[in-house]
């Protein structure tokens, strides 16, 4: 994976650009100036202790959290706000919804719609947000469910599926909107250990197919093997970033070393 990234064309496109992003919740500043870039096709993995702000930052990328200052660009478009003169004004709900439709998100607790079957979960957004005809949506959905290995569970309700299966359906559901970018918020943290592998396998497959991904995770094996770049965050700042070999084998910062020694 890392060999491939160095052979990338020079005209690599910035899929994500964050500029000096700050976020506070009340008096507590959770993000203290995050700046980073994700190129098209890259998989960036964010690691760090809990409370470091990594999940908050991820949720800022699709405006599930509103940033307090700074800018976030996804595929060249300013997210959540528009420029009016020299001020930033929050976008209308419609515009934000459309922006979010291009970004897929997978949650720690799956958040499948329990009143819909797996298939219905996957076709829901394409039909009601993109106005796709039902037959086409179903065809696409079956293809995606096949891809994540759950075609036979298309008519099952979420409560009948294991955690790993639910998460894979959630991935299919996010992919159904044809996103340019996929965000993974500790996608395997709520899974029993024996189910983690099947989800990581799907994520890896996506990365190999060239999806741009930002992954917040504690799975260091996955990070080491699949990431093009690792970002280590702590206390709301990016402490260090670089390719996996550097971060895991020769971390430059003491805090990085301390964190890694605790979990590896």
């Amino acid at each position: 994976m890392t060999m491939l990234s160095s052979e990338r064309q020079p005209a690599a496109y910035e899929m994500v650009r964050a500029e000096d992003v700050h976020k506070h919740f009340g008096h507590v500043e959770v993000l203290k100036g995050i700046s980073m870039v994700v190129h098209r096709g890259d998989t960036v993995v964010i690691i760090g202790p809990s409370g470091s702000g990594k999940t908050t930052f991820l949720r800022c990328l699709n405006h599930l959290e509103k940033i307090s200052s700074g800018r976030i660009y996804i595929d060249g478009h300013l997210i959540g706000y528009r420029q009016e003169g020299d001020r930033l004004v929050e976008e209308s709900e419609r515009v934000i919804a459309r922006q979010r439709a291009e970004i897929g998100m997978v949650f720690q607790r799956f958040n499948l719609f329990p009143h819909l079957t797996a298939l219905e979960n996957v076709i829901e957004a394409p039909i009601h947000v993109r106005r796709m005809p039902r037959a086409q949506a179903e065809e696409q959905a079956m293809e995606l469910l096949r891809k994540v290995g759950l075609a036979d569970k298309a008519h099952a309700y979420p409560h009948r599926l294991s955690g790993g299966q639910q998460q894979r359906v959630a991935i299919a559901r996010a992919l159904a909107m044809n996103p340019k970018l996929m965000l993974f918020d500790e996608a395997t943290s709520a899974l029993d250990p024996e189910l983690v592998g099947e989800v990581l396998k799907v994520m890896r497959q996506l990365a190999d197919e060239g999806m741009t991904m930002v992954v917040v995770t504690h799975e260091m094996g996955f990070a080491r093997e699949v990431a093009d770049r690792i970002i280590f965050m702590d206390y709301g700042v990016i402490v260090e970033e670089g390719p996996p070999e550097q971060i895991f084998n020769e971390p430059r910062h003491e805090r990085t070393r301390a964190f890694l020694s605790m979990i590896l």
């Binding site: 599930l64 979010r100 439709a101 719609f113 079957t117 957004a125 790993g164 909107m177």
Partner: protein
Amino acid sequence: MFDWSQVWKYLFSGVMLQGAWVTLWISVVSQALGVILGTLLAIMRISRNPILNLPARFYIWIFRGSPLLVQLLILYEGLPQLRIPLLTFTALEAAILGLSLNEAAYMAEIVRAGILSVDPGQMEAAKSLGMTYSLAMRRIILPQAARVVVPPLGNEFNNMLKSSSLVSFLGVVELTRTAELYGAPTFSVLELLIAATFWYLIMTTIWGYVQNLIERNLDVDRKQSAPFSGGWLQRFTGFGARRAPKVPVPAAGSLTGTH
């Protein structure tokens, strides 16, 4: 003196049945309108936008904080004083309007509780897929809230059947008014009121059974069912809904590792 034969005479008489019917249909209509308006109010109440939030809270405060009877009287006897044609109602109009508006305030709190009971992750997932708030509400949140709303809604209807008796004050000829109308001139006030009581009991008791059936159908305690999909009727009653096939719950100690 008391005369049982009077009770029997009027119990199944045309006028009594008519009165019971009026009680029933204005209760159903008012409850339905109350649910619709109440849902709208609940959504407004949840909103962080003060333009929506404050009027909703004000409405709920007024209609829950003052007596239903007074509200009915204002609609029927008070408003005409303003001489505004649009605000002058017949007894029946005032009755249904008053019952609905009042009920909406109570339903608002019930529906709000239902909406809040839905995991916040659901709205987040919906939003992350590009749904607007209202689309997510309609397709994802409210259908799930419905399950929580059903038991208290059943109780509200039980109350509605009884509080509908207040519209007798407006002259609407429902069950209570019927009893009064026919009791006085025949000197059998008690007998007629007993007959009316009988009909109220029949209606609330039958509703109690129906409510029980619906709640068991919906498996409100979620002992072993999937949520219901289908239209709103299916969602609220469980009848005619598509439901996942039941897998027998394995006995303790016999769980295999398959999933």
